[in-house]
Amino acid sequence: MKAFRRLRRNFDHGVHPAHHKQQTENLPIQRVPFGKDYVMPLGQHIGIPARAIVTAGERVLRGQMIAEPGGFVSTSLHSPVTGTVKEIGDFRGVDGRFAPAIAIEADAFATQQVGAGTSIDWEAMSQEEFIEAVQMAGIVGMGGAAFPAHVKLSVPDGVRIRSLLINGAECEPYLTTDHRLMLERPEALLEGAEIMRQKLGAEESVIGIEANKPDAIEIVQKHIQPGAPVRVVPLKVKYPQGAEKMMIKSVFDVEVPAGQLPRDVEVNVNNVGTIVAIADYFLRGMPLIERVVTVAGPGVTYPANLIVPLGTPVRDVVKFCGGLKPGTREIVMGGPMMGRPIASLDVPILKGCSGVLVFTEEQTARRTEYPCISCGRCLEACPYFLNPSRLARLSKSRMFDEMKAYNVFDCVECGCCTFSCPSNIPIVQLIRTAKDDLSHRKEPDA
């Protein structure tokens, strides 16, 4: 039975949204031309914001560090363009709030090239030096969370990592950035994987790819040197296959205990984009100054997969794609299941932004909410086996403390519950409200 389950490469529960990837999955990655204005928020990763080390009026080169880490769980920023620092001040962020950022005006006459070929002798580096180098390269998790990559690499004493798991599931509908990266840069992916594997001291690298990308599975497999400690594992197409704990369950048939991290089951999970960024830095000397973004959705004139310099306003990206179609109602950064809506086209592309999705009336129409009929579909969708129906009811009554007994903090907000609810109850949104309230409380006796 167990062997049979392992053949299925699956986790329990989850949902099957239409994947909508036809729009962009066959479009090669293009480079967006350089524009004029760039905004680099200091807090575009999870953790402590970076500290600016340039001043207004200073000339900066593309790839030059402009902000240093503000602490250990923090990372650095680099200028995406050659140009002049215009201002260090508050700019509107994705969530609509103003936050400190560095504004840079590109030099219209600069060639905007990065000194190519300056590879770094990573093999000679110690573990600590390597971790610091990753932090100095500004590399974060590129799948969407933007968690500083070096923090995951710092494994405490006594813990060993057996496997490096590379996440190529891309289970969010519409997004095709990891798919295209795997198709177009399999060498870089495998190079980066080898660097990471060696520095983690892991025995093998495993690349998990959803089975709806057979071309990616084939190309990556073809590039693996015979005898190399890398294998590709095709995964069942199901959302959220790319959630790291789900993927560990699918690939290794192990549940990461609640409240613990993948390293507690001897696995380190990294996104395909992160691994390519590692290769670009250590083999080609390029810090994280640009990323691949899928621009898609029913409201985009010409959908595309683009290399976008960080800090580029969404406005320029959308303009490059032929502009917005009439009837555009909402723009989301990230995927349609977990992405964040943006309030303004002036918001810049950030390190964790895998997609710019433009939706029209059809997806955003107000849905009549009906009472919960306890049908249990959310229970059968929740990959963490929570009871979303109960959690939503408690949240509606503002009984947030009672929700802790129903393990509300195990929720990763994947949105399967809201997706599956026939009564259109915004379940995950209600859970988010409660989590937010609970985590911002001051404990009186703490």
């Binding site: 990461v256 917005l324 109602r329 909402e330 809506p341 955003t364 306890s374 086996f385 997706f419 026939p422």
Partner: protein, 339 residues
């Protein structure tokens, strides 16, 4: 001057939904019941149409009367009132006076649903509550069964249908016994083929087992139905009667007779599965189904009544919150078995 940007909404992810909504689920159940409803009209003629219409009318009237003025449209549009009326009607004897049917539908919604706070909040299945009310209030009319339309043809109406409110209903002499009654009180077995195709005496909807099963399959294919509940109820009944058969095959009903007689299929497929009044957890639905099956058999075989589906489901409805509380799913990464 910048070109005007579109006004952007900030609706939170996920923006995608599966296509099913609560009203569409209710509509699917109505579609699934259509063959059995048509069969009831075939067997009982105009009387069936009148009784079903009176029940639906009573249910919708209560729904409309007690709804908030603003929410009136929504609570009628979700079709749950119509469904309650139809389900109640299918459990009634064909000769029931129409005013009683209307009252049953009205009370089912009023006391079975509205008073609890509306759709989603009720403890008991409204249709069965309406039926329980009728059985307690009009025991004679509710247990007088008439045979299916004979020579009179489709347009025949049972005279008792038209009895005036609060007048002594004219219970005619044409009464007959249901297969379960025959079994219990006269030890007479009805042939299985009659049970399946409907040539029996009984309530409007319980005459044709096969058509009810057909609707159940449709609901299962449309993913509108928690298959665990009917499967566990029917399996329990089969096992229970098989075990009884080992003791005394003459005295106790055969498994197939148990499944196809009375309101078991109607109850197991369409009433016990009411999501509101059945447990939400997968483990809980098994307990609920097995409990219902056991109670049905206990009441039928050892109780004073020939039929026990209604009380079995209502009793298990009452136990549902408790079942839910003790069958919370195991959380991912917190040990134990996956189920």
């Amino acid at each position: 001057m910048k070109k005007r940007d579109p006004d952007l909404l900030l609706a939170h992810a996920p923006l995608l939904r599966q296509g099913m909504t609560t009203p569409s689920v209710m509509r699917d159940v109505l579609i699934a019941l259509a063959p059995a409803t048509a069969a009831s009209m075939w067997f009982f003629g105009l009387s069936a149409i009148l009784i079903l219409g009176a029940c639906i009318g009573g249910a919708v009237a209560a729904e409309w009367l007690f709804a908030d003025k603003q929410a009136r449209g929504d609570s009628l549009r979700d079709a749950s009132g119509i469904l309650t009326g139809l389900l109640l009607g299918l459990t009634l004897p064909p000769g029931l006076p129409l005013w009683m049917a209307f009252l049953g539908g009205f009370v089912g919604i009023a006391l079975g649903k509205v008073i609890w706070g509306g759709l989603g909040h009720n403890l008991f299945n409204p249709a069965l509550l309406g039926r329980a009310f009728l059985l307690a209030t009009f025991p004679i009319a509710m247990t007088t069964w008439v045979p299916a339309v004979g020579d009179g043809g489709f347009l025949q109406i049972y005279p008792s249908n038209l009895a005036l409110p609060f007048m002594q209903a004219q219970i005619d002499a044409m009464s007959a016994a249901t297969p379960l009654g025959l079994m219990k009180f006269e030890q007479e077995v009805t042939p299985l083929a009659n049970l399946m195709f409907g040539k029996i005496t009984g309530s409007l909807g319980e005459t044709s087992g096969l058509l009810l099963l057909l609707g159940g399959v449709y609901l299962w294919l449309r993913r509108d139905l928690d298959w665990r509940i009917p499967v566990s109820i029917l399996l329990t009944v089969v096992v229970f009667s098989a075990v009884l058969g080992l003791f005394d095959a003459e005295r106790f009903p055969t498994p197939l007779f148990s499944v196809f007689s009375g309101g078991l299929l109607l109850g197991a497929i369409y009433m016990a599965t009411d999501p509101v009044t059945s447990p939400v957890t997968p483990k809980g639905t098994w307990i609920f189904g097995i409990g219902t099956g056991v109670l049905v058999m206990l009441i039928r075989v050892f109780g004073g009544l020939p039929e026990g589906v209604m009380y079995a489901i209502l009793l298990m409805n009452a136990a549902t919150p408790l079942i839910d509380r003790y069958t919370q799913p195991r959380v991912f990464g917190r040990g134990g078995d996956t189920k």
